[in-house]
Every structure is written in structure tokens, then in C-alpha cells.
Symmetry: C2
Subunit: 350 residues, 2 copies
């Protein structure tokens, strides 16, 4: 049934081929000193003849309590460039330490997150980096309580007892909103991820806070949140802007939403009329007319730093939990500097 034709050779197979005890094979494979050159050669020959590869599972089993050389990374969606860049950053650090990264997408769903964490635990990863679901910690909470080294990335649950690296979601959203306000806007629409995602909630709160500080009212329909693809966001925002009283500016609080919003604005011919700022940078944002202003993140650095923190824990550090919160200034490219139309509520149809 299985495509595995011939079973893999074991140490015993190598040993009998080389005419030594399998303990000697173990010594040679692990490059322990004190084996006669003659035997080393014979074993090495047998290893390459048979194509022997040690089984890490068996190896780690006996070394119970020692490290297994793998860490897990539970992220929201590897298909999102933000998270995949983050993964790449983690991978680089892990590789320097000789570690493998097990990664999986949760889509922000606690059930999927729990499945993933269980899988990591079943394989006895040495530590976990996680973008925790807004629905709770689930199994991850047990692992933290048990003492498994965990670092949170991007998101921050209410109670944090472990290391954390994330962007300043609230502060970034405040900056973005203030940027629009400074350019004369008071009627701004906010499009963001579902507030079940912690970072999305923080960004929304930042928007509200900045608006309130400026004494600007947020109309009933001005906040739209949800979990959608770029294409769906484009449709939602197109319908929104084509509908009655359009805002003078929009704030798209996530990379896919920003792409959708840009498409909507262009399709409606409003790209030069309605101001637009995004959270998270995207390719080609500088080349669109007008360029899309954003508050960027540094996903690669976030990943690197999270991994550095995790490996410090794995090395035995027991300092109090670290909180690294990274801010970035607005990148002004044009779309965020459009001033409100003097004639408000210009009528337009798609």
C-alpha cells in the first residue's frame, strides 16, 4: 500500500554490515571521539552504502527533557505577505540555531489554533511563537502555564505573561487618523478586520481616540469591519462609496483592505478626490496615482525579534516577560494628503 518500498536501514543494519556493535555505529554517527580510525571508516562506508539516516524521533525520545530542535509558529495566514515575511524572519534566526520551524495558518479561528498547537505539542516543539486568536488562548494557555516558552507576535491577549513583539497598532492608527485630520478631514470612514482580532480592535480604538481628541464625530455608518478577501473588500468599499454621503477620507486598517480600497477608489474615479491611508505597506503603493500613504510595519523584523526572544528563553533566560512594541511614522505618498473637497458630497455613480 504505502509507497515506501524498502524500509529504511537502522543502526543495527549498519552495524551488521560493518561487523561492529550498533553502539559503535551510534558513536560514529554522533562523531564521538575514541573510536579507532579503522572502525570509523568501516561504519562510514556502511552508512553511505545503505543510505542510513538517523531517526531524530528515536534519538530525542531517550534524551527526554532535552531539546528537539523545532519550534512552532501559529500565524493567521501564510498567504498574507505580512505573515509570510514574518515567518521568513523567524526562519532565519531559527536556522542560525540549527532549528526547524513548524508553521501553520489558523485564520484567526480558535479551533484551528488549538489543533495546530496540539500538533506542535504532540511533536514536542521546544517553544512556540503565536499570533493568538482573539477568541482566547485555548491550549496555548495550558502550555504557557506548563512552562513551555511562548512568544506572542503581532497580537497581545488581555493578560500577557510571556514575551511579546508587535507593532504599535493603537499608536499607528492614531498617527494615520491624525494625518488625515491634519489635512482637513473630519468625516473619515474606517475599514478594518473583524474586531475579534486583537490588533484590529486596537487599530479601531486608535482611530476613535484620535477622532475624539480632534473633536470629530464618527457617523453611524463610518465603521465597517469584517474578515474578507481583497476582492470582497473591493466590492464592499465600492458599494459603500457609491452609496449616499461618502466620507472625505478613508482609513483601511490592513494590507488586503488597502488593496481593495485602492481598487474601489480607482474604479469609481475617486482616487484623487477621497483621501486614503492604510495600515501596513504594500508593493507598488508608491507607483499608483496618487501614491498610497501608509503606516508601515516591519514584518521581517517582528519575526526576527520574536525568534530572538524565544531562543533566549530556550537558552534558559528567566527574566520577566519583555514587551517590544514597534512604531513607524506615516509614509506620505499622496493619497493621504488629499484635502476634503470644498463641495462636499459630490454626486457620482460607478
Amino acid at each position: 500500500m504505502a509507497a515506501q518500498h524498502n524500509p529504511r536501514p537502522t543502526m543495527r543494519d549498519v552495524a551488521s554490515n560493518a561487523g561492529v556493535s550498533f553502539k559503535t555505529v551510534s558513536r560514529v554517527v554522533n562523531r564521538e571521539s575514541g573510536v579507532s580510525p579503522d572502525l570509523v571508516k568501516r561504519v562510514a562506508d556502511a552508512v553511505s552504502l545503505l543510505g542510513y539516516r538517523p531517526d531524530d524521533r528515536a534519538r530525542h525520545l531517550r534524551q527526554s527533557g532535552r531539546q528537539t530542535g523545532a519550534i512552532g509558529f501559529a500565524l493567521v495566514d501564510v498567504g498574507n505577505p505580512f505573515f509570510s515575511s514574518t515567518l521568513r524572519g523567524i526562519e532565519e534566526v531559527a536556522r542560525q540555531h540549527g532549528y526547524l520551524v513548524l508553521a501553520g495558518s489558523t485564520d484567526g479561528d480558535l479551533v484551528r489554533q488549538d489543533q495546530l498547537i496540539e500538533t506542535f505539542v504532540a511533536r514536542r516543539v521546544d517553544g512556540i511563537i503565536a499570533v493568538p486568536s482573539g477568541h482566547g488562548l485555548g491550549v496555548l494557555g495550558h502550555e504557557i502555564a506548563r512552562g513551555t516558552p511562548v512568544v506572542f507576535l503581532d497580537l497581545e491577549p488581555e493578560v500577557v505573561t510571556v514575551d511579546l513583539v508587535r507593532s504599535d497598532h493603537h499608536g499607528g492608527a492614531v498617527l494615520a487618523t491624525k494625518h488625515l485630520i491634519a489635512h482637513g478631514h473630519r468625516d473619515i470612514a474606517f475599514f478594518g478586520d473583524t474586531t475579534e482580532i486583537i490588533s484590529a480592535k486596537l487599530r479601531l480604538t486608535g482611530f476613535r481616540d484620535a477622532m475624539q481628541e480632534a473633536g470629530a464625530k464618527i457617523g453611524d455608518q463610518r465603521i465597517v469591519t469584517g474578515q474578507h478577501s481583497t476582492a470582497v473588500w473591493q466590492r464592499i468599499i465600492t458599494d459603500y462609496l457609491a452609496g449616499s454621503p461618502a466620507p472625505t477620507a478613508i482609513f483601511s486598517a490592513q494590507n488586503f483592505i488597502t488593496v481593495g480600497a485602492a481598487h474601489a477608489l480607482h474604479a469609481l474615479g475617486l482616487a484623487h478626490k477621497i483621501a486614503h491611508i492604510g495600515f501596513d505597506d504594500i508593493d507598488l503603493a508608491a507607483l499608483v496615482q496618487p501614491g498610497i500613504s501608509v503606516v508601515p510595519q516591519q514584518p521581517w523584523d517582528l519575526g526576527r525579534q520574536a525568534a530572538e526572544l524565544l531562543f533566549q528563553r530556550l537558552a534558559g533566560s528567566d527574566t520577566p516577560p519583555v514587551r517590544q512594541i514597534i512604531s513607524s511614522p506615516v509614509i506620505a505618498r499622496g493619497s493621504g494628503e488629499i484635502r476634503p473637497l470644498s463641495v462636499k458630497r459630490s454626486k457620482r455613480t460607478a
Copy 2:
């Protein structure tokens, strides 16, 4: 030293807590039938009290020869959206089968690829999906010979004895080149990945073939290949176009290069003068002025299909190797339809 404070409970710990033999714990944990409800309850309570999690490594060890529930994916760079979308597609299929995906970046380097494959093998993955390095198969070749199910993705080594899923690199490049030729171009510059990458070589060959078929000569300096970041490509292409005799059109044969090329063209004010077509689609390509014409790929589908093939092998299929080669037509958005300037070689400086 290790942050692992209290060691994980084992089946024996659960057994002594529940007052049963550890074999009974094994039965309950594996939901085997024929355990009295009373014992099931006592064991279940002990499991949750102690926070017992079975150790998959030990489990698989005894089930020698059976499947371990993990597959490996050796890709070039998870930070590249093309590959991360591919990974996401694989992940979806793997999840349906209850499998975990171990993924890692090779950067096209055979040494890194070998390290990664060795790691996969040491963990006894059931199968491997790989974007093989142009420098050879290395350890992967041994694994294929040994009978490990392997599927190639995106790239195709010279000798293929396993399943393969990839885009039609040569045909896509021919289409792109013909598209430019059909719009009057004969002097086209090609920017591509290093030809050590198999797909890059195929794309270059497609370019050459289409040019030759049209009777167009390729000038000495018209082919530029290398392995660079977007920013470096931008600089290279800027310098190239700012230098003497610029081509009337350019073909950027990879997503990062396309982004770099677009930036270069815009910075030089040539975006409306020199035609441009890319291989692989990118976000916002339709919104730039002019829109960037491309031959797209479907990375998500490539991943899904590769995974489907692998799981068929894991289920025991032993049909001859499958070759799935996917083509896409040109998406014309403007940049690829620019006609050559009547006044050739307009002098411009950056």
C-alpha cells in the same frame, strides 16, 4: 537551564493517578473500544488533571513503517508571495488529510536544500514537495531513489521520475515576448533570475525562441540575469535604462523584478514610453499608470495540485509520474501594449 519547569506527564503518570495499568490509558487515549465506562472516566479525568498530551514521536516509533502525519515542503523563499501562496495551497490540502506541513526556504542553494531535506528525513516525513535547486537534486535524489514520495513544484530538473506541477515557463515567456512583438517591438531587454534556477532558464529560452521566430535579433546587452532583491533590481534596471541605447520594451521574468522594473520606469519617467510585461502577477499592477501587463501564475492552485498528487502517492497510487503544466494567457493592462517610440533612443537622464 531549560525553561521546561515540570516535565510532561507520561502515560505511566496518568495510569498511576487513575489507578489503572498504562495500557488502559493507551486504550482510552486512542479511543479503542472495550474499556469499561468507569475506567474511561477515571483515565479521562487523570488526563485533564495532569494535562497529559501523547508524544507522537514515541507513538510513531513503534508503528515503524506507518505514516507520521507530516510532509515537507522545500521552497525557495517563503518571503516571496508566489511561494507563500503556494504553501497556503499545500497547507489546505494537508489539513484536510490531518497532516502537518514542514516548510523551509532554500534560496535556491543546494547546501541549504540538502540541510532541509536531511531535517525532513530525520523527522521521517511521509512525503516531500520540493522546488528543486538548479544545482542538482542532492539528498533529494537519494530519497527519490529510495522510494520516498516526492512531488516537484514550479521547477523541473532535467531527469524527472516523479510527479510534477508547474507553470508553463517557456510557453508563458513566449506569449509575453510575442505580445511585445505584436505591438511592434524588436528591441526588447530581458531581466530574469539567475539561469541556475531552472524556471528562469526556461523563461529566458522562451524569450529567445519567440524573438528568433520573429526574426528579431537580441543585442549583446539585452539579457540581464541575477539573483537580487527588489531594491537592487530597481537600481540595476534604472542604470540600464539610463545608459545608452535603451530598448523599446522590457520583459521582467519574475515578480520581484517586475516591481523593481516598474519603479525604475516610473523614476525615469519612461513608464509611458517603454513597454513592459512581467511574468507572475502582483498586487496593484492594475492600478499603476499604465497598468502592468503580465503573464500570471496561479500559485495557490499549483500548491493544491502538488499536494493532491502527493497524497495520492501516500495513499498507494503507483501510476507513472504525472506532469501537470499550467498555462495562462497574457493579462493586458496597458504597459505591454505601448508601441515603440517613432523617435528611437530618446535621450533622458534620471
